[in-house]
């Protein structure tokens, strides 16, 4: 098999699942999440898609980055609607301008409100239930040792994003409001 290391990781993630109790630092779980993060994009429609043509599709990570190099590896050489994919790390309070997707990791800084800056803007916000960050459109959840997600479809819609019913069908819960 000539696939990259990632493929090996994913194979493990899918067939074996994550069953370690102390999953927090489990590299497999993070690898799956990184892969999912990238794969959300095809199932979401951004408004005025044509405007961003030519510019790279940007996935931003705010707060603590749980993925590390894994995410860079996932997006390497990939394209979303013909655009190359770029990962930007904003730190605790970076400028989220130009991001199409914003993942918020945990943060120790006081008054941490990662999504405030993009409220009302067509940016797909993602977070992890474990990190305690609230208010994202898509949230990773662990279920029976597998990485799953729940979706706040109402929030996405009010920000001008359309999430494919295929993706909604796979979510463990959908908030429609």
């Amino acid at each position: 098999m000539r696939g990259p290391r990632l493929a090996v990781l994913m194979l493990c993630a899918m067939f074996v699942g994550l069953w370690t109790a102390h999953a927090r630092a489990a590299p497999l779980e993070q690898a799956v999440k990184a892969s999912f993060l990238f794969k959300f994009a095809p199932f979401v429609e951004w408004p005025d898609n044509g405007a961003g043509a030519g510019k790279p599709f940007t996935i931003c990570v705010v707060g603590e980055d749980p993925f590390g190099a894994t995410l860079d590896e996932v997006v390497r050489g990939q394209r979303i609607s013909g655009r190359s994919v770029n990962v930007r790390r904003l730190g605790d309070s970076g400028n989220a301008a130009g991001c199409q997707m914003l993942f918020a990791g945990r943060s120790s800084s006081a008054g941490y409100a990662p999504f405030a800056a993009v409220a009302g803007q067509p940016v797909l916000t993602v977070s992890d239930q474990k990190s305690g960050v609230q208010g994202s459109m898509i949230q990773f959840v662990m279920q029976a040792g597998r990485v799953r997600f729940q979706i706040d479809e109402g929030a996405a819609r009010s920000n001008g994003l359309v999430i494919s019913s295929k993706l909604l069908g796979l979510a463990i819960s959908v908030e429609r409001k």
């Binding site: 098999m1 696939g3 990259p4 493929a7 994913m10 194979l11 993630a13 899918m14 799956v32 999912f36 794969k39 994009a41 095809p42 199932f43 979401v44 429609e45 990939q78 394209r79 979303i80 609607s81 013909g82 597998r146 997600f149 494919s164 295929k166 993706l167 069908g169 796979l170």
Partner: protein, 574 residues
């Protein structure tokens, strides 16, 4: 049917050619073969279309699957993925399905042994083998390739497809066989028909020849008398002329003139009847008045009444019309009367009678002609043989035995009957019964008066014989036309070119020079199409063709009455 060599293929002969072609067993075999071939081509075509359709179906199935499994494949939801794939198991023809992720790694799928799934998923062109087909589809979402789908389906086996087309094949085969059989039988029928036609034609020819020889035979019986009669007529004419030179008594002159007139009339009539009688004519039934016909034969029948034989005719008035061939009737009557004459070497009486015989008790109306003689009679032992061809009691050189067989043939062909009554030593009566026709007869024209010329018009008379020219010229003067004579067809053309104002051309048929009468009429028709022309002719083949072309014709000798009527007719028609 034969094609004429050298002539272009006209539609009619093309049709004939096709018909001839159709009539060969080879053509039938070719048609049957073509039908078979068409059946095979059609089947292959339907099969090919069926397979292409199958391929399209499989492609669509793969595409639907690819679209459905996009999310489960992307997010590793194997349970959902399997659900999608298992749904395809309902289709027994799908023998392998696989889902592969973006890197080509196998994720899920199933296969029916012995079919195997490829280890690695990649897009490929649809492929079709004799037994199965393979299609692939990309799993694409939002422009991003998420994986591929692989689908393999069986095609119907060769045997299964063959059974599907077996019905069609049977029908085509049967149709081919039918065509071949029909073609063969049609060909043999056609051949038999052609042979039959040939036979009929040659038999008709033989019958035609027989009839003609029967006529000539009857005529032969007359010739001696005819020559004798002509001598008498000439004797009367020349004698009267001699006497006319020696007398000035107008009353006597008138009587002599009338005598000549009478002799010439009789001669002309006799010649007419002989010519008409001996003419070769196809068997042709006409509706006729028997009385007219029998009366019209008087001069011929008179030839037979020599040596103490007298002839009496009693014809009832208002005879019903009958439909017969007039010339055959004449031959038949002559044959019977000749037999009567032969039966009375010491002289006697021949009676010809004709009357209506109304049918009763469902029997049809008939006209009866009875010919009785006071001759030797027919002995009972030969009575039922007399109608046999070649049966004669008259000895070699005298009888042919064909006379009564002709009479019998004529009567049967006319739908009639014949009866013989004979008392040896007392005489014989032959009765012809002919069925009444519901049509009315074509009347012969009654004698017309001279039609005087309506105005002084010029007629160009073309005639080489001076005497005839003088005579006809005199007639024209008498009727009231101006006339100018040309001695030949060539001379006539010169006169016409000079433009003398002629109203009509009256021309003889046979003339010296380049043009005969018919040629002249043709030439006139070409150059002066409005100029009417009348031909004068004795009986000849040429006159038949002139009549066929519709050219007005005067048969020599003609009377001043018929000349005036013909000219008046022709002028008023043009």
């Amino acid at each position: 049917m034969k094609m004429r060599v050298g002539s272009p293929v006209r539609p009619a002969s093309l049709k004939a050619w096709i018909k001839q072609l159709m009539a060969t067993p080879l053509a039938a075999a070719i048609i049957a073969l073509l039908l078979l071939l068409a059946g095979v081509v059609f089947t292959l075509q339907v099969d090919r279309i069926g397979r292409t359709e199958k391929l399209r179906q499989a492609s669509v199935q793969a595409q639907i699957l690819a679209s459905g499994i996009a999310a489960p494949l992307a997010f590793g939801d194997e349970a959902t993925l399997r659900e999608y794939l298992e749904a395809l198991r309902a289709d027994p023809q799908i023998i392998a399905v696989g889902a592969y992720d973006a890197t080509g790694r196998f994720v899920a799928g199933y296969n029916v042994v012995p079919t195997r799934l490829p280890d690695h998923g990649r897009l490929a062109e649809p492929a079709m083998t004799a037994r199965d087909l393979t299609v692939t589809a990309a799993v694409v979402q939002g422009g991003t390739r998420l994986g591929t789908v692989y689908l393999r389906a069986t095609l119907d086996s060769w045997q299964r497809r063959a059974t599907r087309y077996a019905g069609l094949a049977a029908i085509v085969l049967m149709a081919s066989l039918l065509i071949a059989t029909l073609g063969a039988s049609y060909a043999s029928l056609h051949e038999a028909h052609a042979r039959l036609q040939e036979e009929t034609a040659s038999r008709q020819q033989a019958e035609e020849a027989l009839r003609q020889s029967q006529k000539m035979e009857a005529l032969g019986q007359l010739t001696g008398g005819v020559a004798h009669d002509f001598n008498n007529l000439l004797m009367v004419a020349s004698g009267s002329l001699d006497l006319m030179d020696r007398t000035d008594d107008p009353a006597r002159l008138d009587r002599l003139k009338a005598g000549i007139r009478h002799a010439v009339d009789r001669g002309a009539k006799l010649t007419q009847q002989l010519l008409a009688f001996s003419r070769r004519s196809p068997l042709k039934a006409e509706v006729v008045d028997l009385g007219d016909r029998i009366r019209g034969m008087d001069t011929l029948l008179d030839r037979l009444t020599t040596n103490g034989i007298s002839l009496k005719t009693s014809i009832a008035s208002n005879l019903w019309p009958v439909e017969i061939d007039p010339s055959e009737l004449e031959v038949a009557l002559l044959n019977v009367v000749i037999n009567a004459r032969d039966a009375m070497p010491q002289g006697g009486l021949v009676t010809i009678s004709a009357e209506n015989l109304p049918g009763d008790g469902g029997a049809p109306d008939q006209v009866r002609i009875a010919i009785s003689d006071t001759g030797t009679g027919i002995p009972p032992d030969v009575l039922d043989r007399i109608f046999e061809p070649f049966f004669t009691t008259k000895g070699a050189g005298h009888g042919t035995g064909l006379g009564l067989s002709q009479v019998y043939g004529f009567v049967r062909a006319s739908g009639g009957d014949i009866q013989v009554e004979s008392v040896p030593g007392q005489g014989t009566r032959i009765t012809l019964l002919l069925p009444r026709s519901t049509l009315s007869p074509i009347r012969s024209q009654p004698e017309q008066p001279v039609v005087e010329a309506a105005s002084k018009r010029r007629i160009l008379l073309v005639e080489d014989n001076d005497t005839v020219a003088e005579m006809v010229g005199g007639m024209l003067d008498e009727i009231g036309y101006e006339q100018e004579r040309a001695a030949s067809g060539d001379e006539a053309l010169v006169r016409l070119e000079q433009g003398a104002n002629f109203a009509l051309v009256l021309s003889d048929m046979i003339m010296p020079g380049k043009l005969n009468g018919l040629d002249l009429v043709h030439e006139i028709g070409r150059r002066w199409p409005r100029m009417p022309a009348v031909l004068m002719t004795g009986f000849s083949e040429a006159s038949i063709s002139a009549r066929g072309e519709g050219i007005p014709l005067l048969t020599k000798p003609f009377s001043i009455q018929s000349l005036s009527a013909q000219i008046n007719d022709t002028l008023s028609r043009s």
